[in-house]
């Protein structure tokens, strides 16, 4: 299939359309504006609907409605806007509504900075809203991965009837790269996906109390509420099979870098350069940051490994807390951090690794 040169945000939107997404609602916020803009011109071409919501809050709730009616639906935003969507995301999780959303994250907290950052790790992986729900969270490190993950995210969302989050950042969103786009689902396939949901979709059914559509983000009965939470917990437990991770040159590594998203991509080239200079470096890159690939840190040879170097565009570090759970005190964990919209540099990572190896 031919490669095309696309900006990350637009490639994410096109991948969603090809996956059968036929509804998008969003609100402007930098650095993800190209996503709603792309959808606004693309969705009408395929019989879909784009709505510019009056807010992030309204947009995610429009998605709640469209997805409740059985349509593959998506929203996107960037950090402060994602915070506003947290109410709707929690409701989608509670009501078991399949939907996909992307966070093209920027500096924080507060309005933060409009440049790329990885400051939303806790929010994305631990508490994207009230009530302790969980989601599959994918962290792309290339535009191609962002495309492939977005395409697949709709299948995961439908499989689980649960939200799926693409946790990207301003680099992935605004960078142009060559990508191979996935196959466009035919109108028949898209219609079949929608038809398969009509049993539970809130669209009108023959009068029958037992079989009405009843999509509820809560219960009046405490027993039913507990049952719903137990069902959700069983779903989350089933995700162990869905863990994705890249382990690169880990087996003989004397220093293991660990990072996700764009930081991991920078780390991977740092590993190659360090190896060329005689330093046996490796990389563990969680591709799903939730569920987290803790077991990958068991693959480190702790007899050889001097330290794990956590690299992230967040100050204070957040991702490091999951890394620590994986490492289990078997070696020191050092950090290499930047924040505020400053992008991690390969030289900085290499310098941090060398400093550890030289025992400084």
């Amino acid at each position: 299939m031919a490669r095309v040169f696309m900006k990350g945000c637009e490639a994410i939107a096109e991948a969603a359309v090809r996956a059968g997404c036929r509804f998008f609602a969003g609100y402007p916020i930098t650095p993800q504006n190209e996503i709603p803009e792309y959808f606004s011109r693309r969705l009408p071409e395929v019989g879909g609907v784009f709505v510019q919501g009056e807010s992030e809050v309204a947009s995610v709730n429009m998605v709640y409605g469209a997805a409740s009616a059985g349509t593959r639906s998506m929203t996107s935003s960037s950090s402060p806007g994602i915070a506003l969507k947290s109410e709707g995301i929690s409701y989608c999780a509670a009501a078991r509504i399949p939907m996909v959303y992307a966070n093209i994250s920027r500096g924080g907290p507060g309005v933060g900075s409009i440049q790329p950052a990885q400051m939303d790790y806790f929010q994305a992986t631990k508490a994207s809203g009230n009530g302790g729900f969980q989601m599959l969270v994918f962290a792309p490190s290339t535009v191609q991965e962002a495309v492939d993950m977005t395409y697949k995210a709709f299948d995961y969302a439908d499989r689980d009837r649960n939200p799926v989050l693409i946790l990207a950042d301003g680099v992935i969103g605004t960078m142009m790269e060559p990508v191979v786009l996935p196959e466009m689902k035919s109108d028949e396939e898209v219609a079949a996906i929608k038809a398969s949901k009509q049993g539970w979709a809130c669209v009108g059914h023959q009068l029958d109390y037992a079989n009405r559509s009843w999509i509820q983000p809560g219960q009046w009965s405490t027993l039913k509420m507990q049952e719903a939470n137990e069902d959700a917990a069983a779903l989350y437990e089933s995700w162990k099979k869905d863990v994705q991770v890249e382990e690169y040159q880990v087996a003989d590594a004397e220093i293991v870098l660990t990072a996700y998203g764009i930081s991991a991509r920078i780390c991977k080239s740092a590993v190659d350069l360090l190896r060329a200079q005689g330093i046996k470096a490796g990389l563990i890159r969680p591709i799903t940051v939730h569920p987290f690939p803790y077991e990958s840190y068991d693959h480190i040879d702790y007899n050889k490994c001097k330290a794990v170097l956590d690299v992230e565009m967040s100050i204070p570090a957040q991702f490091v807390t999951d890394v620590a759970v994986g490492v289990k005190d078997r070696c020191p964990i050092e950090t290499c951090l930047c924040s505020g919209g400053n992008i991690m540099s390969r030289d900085k990572v290499i310098a941090a690794a060398k400093k550890i190896m030289e025992g400084k």
């Binding site: 409605g65 469209a66 349509t71 509820q216």
Partner: protein
């Protein structure tokens, strides 16, 4: 003997009302059900419930429904109707939901002329949470968060949603009714019928604002609540068609 009137099939047969004595939620939900049956729309109905006492309906109604986050019903209905245009999509919201926390969603959906129907229950108070002040609370009316009564200097004045939405170009039908006497109950039913017909005809946004009571939180018995509607609520919220296009 021929049965000429019965309970609407859109409410579960075995369900006993859990609404407070004198509450008009049960009246309105009955009217909606009767209109759905008369218009043969039950199998197309997709109801978006608001938060608060409105949400209690989920356990009574036999047609499709979901509950929106507090105030977001018009946004949820927007997504639903846009992607399922053959469904009859309507929201059922109270004054806190529609006119306070959901003000942006309500006005914006009306301004876009979304082809949905809003049933807006205005009883001037928060019911489920225990009688706090609403945007529609009358001046001087006591609430648990305005124990000395609504004071315009501190709280401003009651909001008139029909009139506010009447500033917009897009809405098709804005009407205010009540359920305080049999004649007004009939008018409310006719208004709901018209609002649903507008949606079938693709006319766009319709809202039926229904002035109702909350005897429990007004601290009045059901009969005195009817008098209160007539003497206090309706002078502030005059009934009638505000817009019909």
């Amino acid at each position: 003997m021929e049965k000429i009137y019965g309970r609407t099939k859109t409410i579960q047969e075995d369900k006993v009302s859990g609404f407070c004595p004198g509450c008009m939620h049960s009246t309105v939900i009955k009217l909606i059900g009767e209109v759905l049956e008369e218009m043969d729309l039950v199998d197309k109905a997709a109801c978006v419930l608001g938060i608060g006492c409105c949400g209690l309906h989920m356990d009574y109604i036999a047609y499709d429904n979901t509950t929106a986050p507090h105030g977001r019903a018009c946004a949820v209905a927007t997504g639903m109707k846009r992607t399922s245009p053959d469904s009859l999509v309507f929201t059922y919201q109270g004054d806190g939901d529609f006119a306070s926390i959901g003000l942006a969603e309500s006005i914006s959906a009306a301004n876009r002329g979304e082809n949905i129907t809003v049933i807006f229950i205005n009883n001037g108070i928060y019911g489920m949470t225990g009688g706090q002040m609403a945007p529609t609370t009358l001046v001087g009316m006591k609430a648990t968060t305005a124990p000395k009564g609504r004071d315009p200097k501190e709280h401003g004045y009651p909001m008139h949603m029909c009139e506010i939405l009447n500033q917009l170009t897009a809405p098709a039908y804005l009407v205010r009714t009540s359920c305080n006497n049999p004649a007004n109950v009939n008018k409310t039913k006719q208004a709901i019928h018209k609002a649903f017909q507008n949606q079938l005809d693709g006319k766009g946004f319709s809202m039926v604002e229904i002035v109702t009571s909350c005897p429990t939180n007004w601290g009045l018995d059901p009969m005195k609540s009817l008098d209160y509607i007539e003497e206090k609520m309706l002078p502030e919220f005059p009934l009638g068609v505000i817009r019909d296009r």
